[in-house]
């Protein structure tokens, strides 16, 4: 059984959307879950969130950022190519209930995983206020989809090229302070869920903590098997070691040790560079071997 790529396009520079034929995964996928894929027999196993899924068509959609060897190689594939292994859906689904008003925060590539969660929360009857942010307007994606999945959508860019000039945390802070009060003047934001780079998630946790709003983040530690067998993905939550692949990936943001998460994510930096250099060298070699017209 191999997993054929049905569609693949570059959404914005270095960010790709890929639709893969994976009927058994699509049938069971829920918002918040991820897959682990391995491109070929030489490949590393990497986790990617299921950004969308269609049980009827038997497909899943992945959105990924080119950052190293594997994601670059994945980006080089096209519709019709296939991926050797896709295992999933892994991890616990996001809690989808009627909470009331939920703020969904997606930063950078984190917009992709927040999308199915926002959509499910909205159809469960919540008022969904989404805040999505990127460095710049030209790398912002899925604005249309997020608009549809939300009752209200805020956009932020670090350079001010679109929406609020600043960070997603500015908007969240503002919503908590001024925006959302019910008829008794009580704060009416019942839940915040934030997905993005660890620094962003830490910042969101910092903003919501003083307001005592339940805040959930989806952690992205390095993983190998994704089934609780290796412990590579261990994170510290409330002082207790958890395996993000089976105990998470979502955890209480106010309990997460983000410093540990970030230092563990940097564990293989020299090796990642070596893998990339090696890859670059071989692709340069290939290009050189081709006759120039």
């Amino acid at each position: 059984m191999s997993f054929t790529i049905l569609q693949k396009r570059e959404l914005v520079p270095t960010l790709h959307q890929m639709e893969i034929n994976a009927p058994r995964v699509a049938r069971k996928a829920m918002p918040g879950q991820f897959v682990i894929l391995r491109i070929d027999e030489y490949g590393e196993r990497i986790p990617l969130t299921i950004a969308d899924f269609d049980a009827q068509a038997g497909t899943i959609t992945l959105i990924f950022q080119e950052i190293g060897k594997t994601t670059r190689q994945l980006a080089s594939l096209a519709a019709g190519d296939s991926i050797a292994d896709v295992a999933g859906p892994l991890g616990n689904p996001s809690a989808i209930e009627k909470f009331g008003t939920v703020v969904c925060v997606g930063g950078g590539v984190g917009i992709a995983p927040i999308f199915p969660i926002a959509r499910a929360l909205k159809s469960a009857g919540n008022r969904v206020i989404s805040v999505i942010g990127a460095r710049s307007a030209d790398i912002l994606f899925w604005e249309d989809r997020m608009n549809e999945a939300s009752s209200e959508l805020y956009i932020t860019t670090d350079d001010g090229t679109k929406g609020h000039h600043g960070f997603v945390t500015d908007v969240v802070q503002n919503l908590l302070e001024h925006g959302e009060h019910d008829e008794h003047g009580e704060r009416a934001i019942d839940r915040v869920i934030a997905i993005g780079p660890p620094v962003m998630m830490r910042a969101v946790a910092g903003v919501t903590k003083p307001f005592g709003v339940r805040t959930v983040v989806s952690l992205n530690p390095i993983m190998v098997d994704g089934t609780g067998m290796c412990g590579a993905c261990r994170v510290l939550v409330g002082g207790v070691t958890k395996f993000a692949c089976v105990d998470g990936p979502e955890f209480d943001a106010h309990e997460v040790d983000f410093t540990l998460l970030m230092s563990r994510l940097a564990m293989y930096l020299p090796e990642e560079k070596e893998a990339l250099d090696c890859d670059l060298r071989s692709s340069v070699g290939e290009a050189a071997a081709e006759p120039t017209v």
Partner: protein, 467 residues
């Protein structure tokens, strides 16, 4: 009869090994196997006992005297058929069974003064390798029964149950969560003890029996056991005991601290020893400490050494006699230069300001009176705290059953530590669901898992013919 047992040599031929100086820097197989002359000569030592005790020592009941006699008669094809009729994974068992406590422990020849038991494992490996080199023959299969069985987990227990059920004419599908079949045989036991090409060849034999192997299929996620029961007549759970234990001491989440499972999975399953040809990275320490004294600790230590980890030290809280690893593997490890710090227990893992491990703080232990279990309970010796520097630490203190399947299966009774409760035939508390191997016993051996798979296959056969 003129067989004169006394006239036969008492000793078995010693199996050739790669010299320690060479093997400490490569991942090629250490033990090289018998050649034809050695195998035939060794087979001729067997007494072909009337009441062969050796068979009772084998959990899958290999007809040892028969296959050994067939080797002596140089009819290797017949020997291979004999083996395969009871054991679908002989090339694996010949290499990794703890024969010294199984079949060879009860061979009469070993009971004689200065006598070596027949090298049953070595002979089994010889025949199985002969067959793999020549091309495996598939036995005639009975008419399909129309019954369907789902097997969860492609470790030794699941593979054996599947092979036996296929040989009974049932349609079998194995669901395996990883991208490769074999369980611990592919992710845990290193290449230099069990080449992955050998595992692949034996898995291929099981496929050729008609067993369908669905990889990348995590049961509990992609399908539940209840859903499988809707589609299949019975389910066998052979999901192993793959959840790594940690010491629960400070510093265990520092960079450079691995569970043995992660370290071995990266090296073996993901082939990190061939990085960057293969994409998965692994840290190569210059001073590595492995905590634990079992086979897993030996495997991790010997892998670390082969990656070029400078010096590798095993830290174990009991003494030499208590080391749970196979004696042969301890000898191999020592020959390769692994350092043993026995009666030493870690109390804290130390790190630098960048969260990287720098060493472990240990305390000396002494053995006191044996406790009820017969083992000596080690006690710390006050004021013997000391630090061993390290830039890589591997925790190899054991594993327990992974709860992924059990928590998603209502009505399945589990015991302390998460093992599934099953009777001697492998039946669980849930009708139609059977289990065997490490998921029932906790970490044990390849051959005991295979034995459990085999026993359960008979119970499953009975069950599905009845319904």
């Amino acid at each position: 009869m003129n067989t004169e047992p006394e006239a036969k040599p008492k000793k078995r031929p010693e199996m050739a090994k790669q010299p320690p100086s060479a093997r400490r820097s490569n991942f090629n197989e250490v033990a090289l196997g018998y050649d034809r002359e050695e195998a035939v000569a060794e087979a001729k030592r067997c007494l072909d006992c009337k009441k062969p005790l050796c068979i009772d020592g084998c959990p899958v009941g290999v007809n040892i005297p028969l296959f050994v006699r067939q080797i002596a008669e140089e009819d290797f094809d017949a020997a291979a058929r004999t083996l395969k009729s009871t054991n679908s994974l002989p090339a694996i068992c010949g290499r990794v069974c703890p024969q010294e406590t199984q079949c060879e422990a009860v061979c009469v020849l070993g009971k004689k003064k200065d006598g070596d038991p027949i090298a049953i494992g070595g002979l089994e490996r010889f025949v199985a390798d002969y067959e793999i080199a020549k091309g495996t023959t598939i036995p005639d299969l009975p008419e399909p029964t129309g019954r369907r069985v789902a097997v969860v987990g492609a470790g030794p227990a699941g593979l054996t149950a599947a092979a036996e059920l296929a040989k009974m004419g049932h349609a079998v599908t194995i669901f395996e969560s990883l991208h490769s079949a074999g369980g611990v045989l592919v992710y845990g036991i290193p290449e230099f003890r069990l080449p992955k090409s050998i595992v692949a060849a034996e898995v291929d034999f099981i496929r050729k029996l008609g067993v369908d192997i669905c990889l990348n299929s995590v049961i509990g996620k992609i399908d539940t056991v209840d859903e499988l029961l809707g589609e299949y007549d019975a389910v066998f759970l052979g999901t192993g005991a793959g959840l790594p234990s940690f010491l629960r001491i400070d510093g265990e989440n520092l960079n450079g601290v691995y569970s043995a499972n992660e370290f071995l999975t990266r090296v073996n399953l993901m082939k990190a020893y061939l990085f960057p040809e293969f994409d998965t990275p692994i840290k190569k320490g210059s001073r590595t400490i492995v905590v634990g004294g079992g086979n897993v600790a030996m495997d991790a230590a010997r892998c670390a050494l082969r990656l070029g980890a400078g010096n590798v030290t095993i830290v174990y809280r009991r003494g030499e006699d208590e080391l749970p690893a196979r004696a042969e593997e301890v000898v191999n490890a020592k020959e390769e230069g692994i350092i043993f710090r026995l009666l030493t227990n870690p109390i804290r893992i130390l790190g630098d300001e960048n969260n990287w491990v720098t060493g472990i703080e240990c305390i000396n232990m002494e053995l006191c009176e044996p406790d009820e279990s017969g083992r000596c309970r080690p006690e710390p010796v006050p004021e013997t705290e000391h630090t061993i520097p390290a830039d890589l630490v591997i925790i190899a203190i054991g594993t327990s059953p992974n709860p992924l399947v059990t928590i998603a299966t209502p009505g399945l009774e589990t015991a302390r530590y998460g093992t599934i409760v099953a009777d001697e035939a492998g039946a669980t508390s849930k009708p139609g669901v059977f289990a065997g191997g490490d998921i029932v016993t906790g970490s044990a051996t390849v051959i005991s898992a295979m034995g459990a798979g085999k026993v359960a296959s008979r119970a499953i056969d009975e069950y599905i013919r009845r319904i």
